[in-house]
Amino acid sequence: MKPFKLDWLILPLIGALVVIGAWHLLAGKKVVVKDAEGNVTSEERVGAIAALPNVKETWESSKPYVMEPFAHRGELDQGILRFTWLSLILVAKGYFIALLIGTPLGFFLGLSKAFTKMTDPIIQVLRPVSPLAWLPLGMVLFLGAGKNASDLAALFTIAICAMWPTVLNTAVGVRAIPQDYLNVAKVLKLSRWKTLTKVMIPATLPYMFTGFRLSLGIAWLVIVAAEMLTGRPGVGGFLWQQYNALIYEQIILCILMIGLVGFVLDRLMSVVERRFKTA
């Protein structure tokens, strides 16, 4: 199709409308059952997927959370942005720990072949483990922390799951430092510290930031699992609570919110990443 005016706006809108339309067609709706005299006897849901709330129901049920996004009515009854904020803080902490551990670890892996051989099998085994599996271990590890145990376990899970892209990308970046740059450092007899800060780290930065971006994506992905299992207030915890309370409309609200935030985070990181793409 030929590009036309405003296609960047119109085409995504059409896509969104199609998906919403399909959702509405599949979703159930409430039907009132009346007896012969016209008295309401019961209500029941009909539709292809009867239990799935439709668009209108989702909106009406979500309204208080969206229209008052910062309300605080109770620990697990807060505005959606307030929940998101709580989740973001937790993710930020876990993500920060992941970078703090992952970047130097990746650097060592890139520098030392022996260290790579030593740790590579462990990394390859630990990397695919799901956050759902890490969390219980985290709970056990921080059993002694008492009230904070679930928070620490959540942080542990986010950090350990989100770390790997940073570790692996940094290692690749260090291995890819052109010999030319290292020769310059050698010929000028730069100290180890100067070689690291003036040559090796700048040369690795583009790779590191690719790792950072992927890690952030994973950290955000893990938050839901972590909050579900610990029952912390946040978008993930709210989602799980509403499911248990049979309020299905707000599950959809949470999913939309998680997706939106993930998208925005990724965009922000790619802006940062592009800034570090040196020639």
Partner: protein, 302 residues
């Protein structure tokens, strides 16, 4: 006067799956202070290996190098290296690239002095207006100018040039040879250059050392180049000795190419078609536009 640089029985052996191969064997060369010496030879003859051992980027297997009365151990900024690719750090401006080395060598000087040194050398190589640009914004020739400025700004005991103009087009190459020869004349640096460009060698050097083909490369022939200095390209090319010397160099390179061919032909049974097996014939890399008029003028003078 004793020699400033002494390479004695310099040997480089690389282990290969078929056993150790001596790329360079018992290579001897003495260079006087302030002399410009060029190593010339075919690609892969080991001339770059000699240079990188001098630079300290390649370990020495046997023999040794003495520079200004001291045996060399490893790399240090007392030798200014100009690499074939300029090797600038892309996240730093031209200024910062040069300053990285200057800070390292002149750490006792104050900041202002160091910056003056950087500015001076960048201006001399003709980058006065673009010293705060990143390498990506500079042309290949300008980047190599930065490379030259970086080497000279270290105030090294010796300059090492590894095919410094090999990646440039002929016009830029001539410009930069001029830049190099002028800086060299001002600073009186002892220099060793590696090249396979016959005209470049003749224009810049006091002495040309022809290397035999590797493995086990050694000094084949030494040619003294006595064109008066300061040199100017046209005058050099019109000098009566220029073409005889050039012939001698090319002949040397051709003989060694042929010797290699015979070796290979003998090794291969039956003799393989020469077109596929022999190394390419020596390329004197004669850029026509400049050379043609020079030839003409020679004819006229005859």
């Amino acid at each position: 006067m004793s020699d400033y640089v002494q390479l004695s029985n310099l040997t480089k052996i690389y282990p290969t799956p078929k056993g150790p191969v001596a790329v360079v064997k018992d290579f001897n060369l003495n260079i006087k202070k302030g002399e410009f010496v060029t190593l010339i030879g075919h690609s892969g003859c080991g001339k770059s290996t000699v240079l990188s051992m001098l630079a300290g980027l390649n370990d020495i297997t046997g023999g040794g190098i003495i520079l200004a009365g001291k045996e060399l151990t490893g790399a240090a900024p007392d030798r200014g290296v100009v690499f074939q690719s300029p090797c600038l750090l892309p996240w730093m401006t031209a200024f910062e690239n040069v300053k990285l080395g200057v800070d390292q060598v002149f750490y006792t000087a104050d900041k202002e002095e160091r910056e003056q040194i950087v500015e001076y050398y960048l201006t001399v190589v003709g980058l006065g207006d673009s010293m705060h640009k990143k390498p990506a914004e500079l042309s290949q020739g300008m980047r190599q100018r930065v490379g030259i400025a970086r080497a000279f700004a270290l105030s090294p005991k010796m300059l090492l040039l590894d095919e410094p103009f090999g990646m440039l087009d002929s016009l830029t190459r001539y410009e930069l040879q001029q830049v190099l020869i002028e800086l060299w004349r001002k600073d009186k640096k002892t220099a060793l250059m590696v090249t396979h460009d016959v005209d470049e060698a003749l224009f810049l050097s006091d002495r040309i050392v022809c290397m035999t083909d590797g493995p086990e490369a050694e000094v084949g022939d030494i040619i003294e180049v006595n064109f008066p200095r300061p040199r100017e390209r046209k005058a050099v090319m019109e000098h009566p000795d220029y073409y005889p010397l050039r012939e001698r160099l090319i002949e040397f390179l051709e003989i060694h190419a042929h010797k290699n061919k015979h070796k290979q032909a003998a090794a291969a049974q039956p003799p393989a078609p020469s077109a596929t097996v022999t190394p390419p014939p020596p390329k004197p890399q004669l850029p026509l536009p400049v050379n043609a008029p020079a030839k003409e003028s020679l004819l006229h003078s005859v």
